[in-house]
Symmetry: C2
Subunit: 337 residues, 2 copies
DNA sequence: TTGTAAGCGTTATCAT
DNA sequence: ATGATAACGCTTACAA
């Protein structure tokens, strides 16, 4: 069985450097030799050892993927699905940098260097992670997703969180709602903060008062949505609509509504964020903000690829538009008809 | 900035081989030298280049992950989540072998060889994929998940599909059901076939007739569940209970039931398979078979690790027990009380 | 116990 | 257009 380029060279009756030139599609190789070499390569099903190639080239056609959220985050799948195609097209493989225990000695930068990855994709919330600081100062091409971090060679891609929520508010005011509550996500997360800001601005633009009893500070989970609605329901003037920072928390809100004998959308309108798979199947189907993970994934790989190939290219700062998906969880406000 | 082992050697005033011995924890190094080297290593935050190491050792501390299903499969997340911890503990990184277009020229074995992965994890359905044949004959340690493929150095791990469904049948007969329908998954998939077989045997053991109008051949999706139930409902004697090959199809079944004005579990009992995250939130919460992905993931890594370290170890053939989760979607059969 | 030097399989430089 | 040969950073006999 053929092991290396040398064997190919021998079989083809040429030198190793010629074989190298052929398999790398370099010029200055006669058509004849090229063909002869290629035949042997085909016959022997030869693939150059990427480890050796990586060693000499100092790069590996590999992208590191680092998640702060753990793999079970619902976005993650969608994001990864969006990554699949572009990955294939660009010829990179993805290496999942296993990282679960936040060992204080762990250094993402070192991990990347040891693996010789060409670039890194980071997906997560916590912007003040020490590992990120190090990453931002390093020369390793990096793209953050859902985290507005910028560095020498690090940029980001994120959905248009603020405007999306503003749009949700306007949609509800258009439906004559004036008592609009908000289930916030982690405020120290980038997306959590922006979505909250979107709510505040939306409320303000609609000349609605900011009422603290209409705000619940949750953590994107279903439970926090449930708890939020329970609390809203106890207010003297319960809201007629609630905007959530995630579809999961919207599900929790709907559960609490049902439990109290009220119904969606007759008594209270609900809007989510994300458009995860199950949202269309909720009862009623959830009106929500869809994140465009296809575009996010494609852009992430594309931008990374450019930064890798062209060192002087500026890191991206991309805001990807969302899509407002109207389904059945919102109705015209009964009180103000 | 320190680049390599040679710089460390210089700083510590020793030879490169001594540094190598120290960082690899080899014996025959005096405590004094060891300490001196380690100090420099710490100071410089040195990490040996794994590409170079991989080249000389012919292995990379890397496991390939290959999915036939694409990333969007709901199990995938759960499986990957189960992989995270064991991965970290065993020191492997996971390389996702991007593979979306089934290019006939593509060879998984070649891809693995080129990347020098130490082992491969394959997750999928289609057992007659040509790439797998090649894989089975190769010397690359391989563990299949949900696919009963065996090779020279390839084994598998799977849930106890057949018995689980048999148990579902018995649970329903215990609830006096006698008209039990089944929504099958792809029959040319390993799990689809086994679950169907479990249904047949369960029916037989309960002395129930096998009625073809109670079988629907679906594909694990929600839509197929919906269609299945629509069909069952048109039969002269609609079933009082239905067992599904997946939670997703169970969700479809429940939707169809609700749509026809009937209700779960009063009119028809429903059982799923998988226990995906949303099942507990369905209306009513779904009774289902929980796959133990933690164990599957842990075993997969562990078995792979053993095969890698000990060439003579036999490939695993592991069947992992499931857990029957009783929630609210089954009731005593009204007809036979 | 420590050091020297020969690989590992490529690519890249420089002759030819 | 083709071929020697020196890297790339590490491990590992073998020598000292």
């Amino acid at each position: 069985m053929v092991r290396n380029i040398r064997d190919i060279a021998k079989s083809a009756g040429v030198s190793v450097s010629t074989v190298s030139k052929v398999i790398n599609n370099y010029p200055n190789v006669s058509a004849k030799t090229k063909e002869r070499v290629m035949r042997v390569v085909q016959e022997e099903q030869f693939v150059p050892n990427s480890t050796a190639r990586g060693l000499v080239k100092g790069s590996t056609q590999t992208l590191g993927l680092f998640l702060t959220t753990g793999l079970s985050h619902p976005f993650f799948v969608q994001l990864l699905a969006g990554l699949e195609g572009p990955l294939k097209e660009s010829g990179y493989d993805l290496i999942y940098l296993a990282q679960i225990d936040w060992n204080p000695d762990y250094s993402l930068v070192r991990h990347c260097r040891s693996r010789n990855v060409d670039g890194v994709l980071i997906f997560g919330f916590q912007r003040n992670d020490l590992n990120f600081k190090e990453m931002l100062q390093s020369e390793i091409p990096t793209v953050f997703i859902d985290l507005d971090l910028l560095g020498v060679r690090a940029g980001y891609i994120t959905s248009d969180n603020m405007d999306s929520i503003k749009q949700s508010v306007h949609y509800l005011t258009g439906l004559k709602h004036r008592k609009i509550a908000f289930v916030a996500g982690y405020l120290d997360s980038y997306v959590g903060k922006l979505r909250f800001e979107g709510y505040r601005q939306g409320i303000q633009e609609a000349d609605l008062p900011y009422r603290s009893e209409y705000i619940y500070f949750g953590d994107f989970t279903r439970d926090s949505g449930y708890l939020a609605m329970k609390q809203f329901l106890q207010s003297p003037e319960p809201p007629t609509a609630v905007i959530c920072s995630s579809d999961m928390s919207a599900a929790g809100v709907m559960e609490a509504v049902a439990e109290s004998g009220l119904s969606v959308p007759e008594d209270v309108s609900v809007i989510g964020f994300d458009d995860i798979e199950i949202s269309r199947y909720m009862q009623p189907p959830l009106t929500t903000v869809r994140q465009d993970f296809k575009t996010i994934g494609r852009q992430a790989i594309q931008q990374l690829d450019q930064m890798i190939r062209t060192p002087q290219v500026a890191p991206p700062m991309l805001v990807v538009p969302t899509e407002f998906i109207i389904r059945g969880s919102c109705g015209i406000c009964g009180e103000n008809q």
